[in-house]
Symmetry: C2
Subunit: 336 residues, 2 copies
DNA sequence: TTGTATGCGTTATCAG
DNA sequence: CTGATAACGCATACAA
């Protein structure tokens, strides 16, 4: 039998309420304080969170919902969240969308079972709509981290995709590129912003992004990047730089390029978005724009616990940082 | 105010105990059953896990402790664990070892705060010793997933590293390799097993692994693989195949190889262990031996809830699967 | 400053 | 089959 608060009370010869007050840093006389400290140490007592939460009417847990295929994103995000959560005596409950089902069942049960105080949904999209609806109905604070689609009047933390696009535009323009193609993957909010930024950034440098060289293949996986690459190289458009909608696509694209003997960046510069760990691992390393996942995780927690009305109205936009590696280079005079 | 069990009882005109019995599938008469079903649906009632757990004297949560730098491993592992946990009305609490501290503070608090029913420690090593000790003291069932060091009489799930080594040995021998080098990274239990298997497997094919070509650089990161590669290529030993202790090292190694113009696999075959996602993403793809992480996660949960004495004595060893990609090829006649 | 009493939402043990 | 009632371990008005 583990010692409970009443065990402590008995051993110290006081009432449980006194112990409770002691534990919560309220009024206790010096001598009693000393005695309790001793008894607690001797018994190795510590509070039961379950009981404490029940009494306080809270859960001491926040839920995190994330698609299972986001592995690279993931770790950084977790670190940020955990660090912030530790401050709040709260811990993390996790659900990856493992089930092939279209809804996020586990998280729904969290809500219905009153197991969480708040919810963070990563990359909110169609599959998570019913989840968000349920959270709203149950009045569980929810923040959308890098949502894929708009959700009005919600707590949102995202990265500044528009300026990321501008950044890529400037980088490529600086290197002398004028013939540029874009393949975005899935036409989500984020991706549209990236494209808008790219287009605007290039325009500012008097470069026009040919609409015929802009596409969305509808997927995000490296495999999709490979398939796109095969189509792309078959047509072999006169292009000196290829902008992919994210790093996964870009890595798949580069893999095929190597296979076909295309030299990067001499024959073709390639860029991505996100800066997943793999991007620094391949050769040539992928030039990309990094999302500050760790920071975003941390901000998501803050916003979750921020009950001011402003929280649900002002989205936080984190700046993305250009990471120049070897996959981009100056335009060379000789043709491909 | 959310409906509680007594709200339901009142609306249905029965006692709370009856509702409880209904909820847990015990004896209830047909008419009452029907009435309760209706009332619960109308009220949108569902049980409070906090209260339920308190009453049942359990926590409804298992803790997962994992080093933060294991990202690739991670997702697969989580999927396996979650799937199994869902069966047991239990959910997952997560802690990555973010803090630079040598102990795993968050998990310690879980134990002390009685927040978890069980604990899974991934890659148990020196940093987790105090955590395991605490878990034992508190009698919290714990399973060690792919431990780095031995821990007698514990629940253990690992992969069969010895046979993985043998598998690599056979693969290379089949391709005609005789001059083989090995760099293991950190000399953990797993790595020693891999080396033992490799050595034995090669010996069975009458190939001797030259001890001078066996090393442990003491790290596991791609960066370490890169540093090792630089040293390796400076000495340029007469070797046709390089076996790295894990995929991260191998990827770092290959990156430098490319950079130096070494052709893989024509000039040098390279293999790793683990099959992290990146290994299939680079070109050439890395030949490696896959750990069935998903399955291991699932087995870890099973073992956690298995209270038979056998559980703590027989370690589960999962077979690893050879994944042949482009980084290995036959030995070519012409020298480097 | 300390003790008493009550509530948090369930489950389980009893009688009836 | 059903209904009181006592746990579960802690927090907090309120009274002393």
């Amino acid at each position: 039998m583990r010692p409970t608060i009443s065990t402590v009370a008995r051993h110290a010869g006081v009432a449980v309420s006194t112990v409770s007050r002691y534990l919560n840093g309220h009024y206790v006389s010096r001598p009693v304080k000393a005695r309790l400290s001793k008894v607690i140490g001797r018994l190795g007592y510590s509070r039961s969170w379950t009981a404490r939460n029940l009494s306080l009417g809270r859960k001491g847990c926040v839920g995190l919902v994330v698609d299972s295929n986001q592995s690279p994103w993931f770790t950084q995000l977790l670190i940020g969240i955990e660090k912030e959560l530790a401050t709040r005596e709260s811990s993390l409950m996790l659900s990856t969308g493992y089930s092939g089902r279209s809804d996020s069942g586990i998280a729904l049960e969290w809500i219905q079972g009153h197991r969480i105080d708040g919810l963070i949904i990563v990359k909110y999209g169609a599959r998570e709509r019913s989840l968000l609806a349920q959270a709203l109905r149950s009045k569980i604070p929810t923040v959308l981290l890098a949502p894929r689609e708009a959700a009005p009047n919600q707590r949102v933390v995202r990265s500044d995709n528009y300026h990321a696009g501008v950044t890529i535009a400037n980088h490529l323009a600086d290197l002398g590129h004028k013939k540029i193609a874009f393949e975005g993957g899935v036409a989500h909010l984020d991706l549209k912003d990236r494209l808008r930024g790219l287009t605007a950034g290039l325009a500012r440098r008097d470069i026009r992004l040919n609409p015929k060289l802009v596409s969305f293949c509808g997927k995000f996986e490296p495999q999709a990047g490979m398939e796109f690459a095969n189509r792309f190289f078959k047509k072999a458009p006169a292009v000196t730089a290829m902008v992919l909608g994210n790093d996964s696509l870009a890595l798949g694209f580069m893999r095929v390029a190597h296979h076909r003997g295309i030299r990067i960046p001499q024959d073709l510069s390639v860029t991505g978005f996100d800066d997943i760990p793999e991007s620094g691992l391949v050769w040539p390393g992928l030039t990309t724009v990094a999302q500050p996942m760790r920071e975003m995780g941390r901000l998501a927690c803050r916003k979750l616990f921020d009950l001011s009305p402003a929280a649900t109205h002002e989205a936080i936009e984190c700046p993305m940082r250009l990471v120049v590696r070897e996959s981009t280079g100056p335009v060379l005079p000789r043709p491909r």
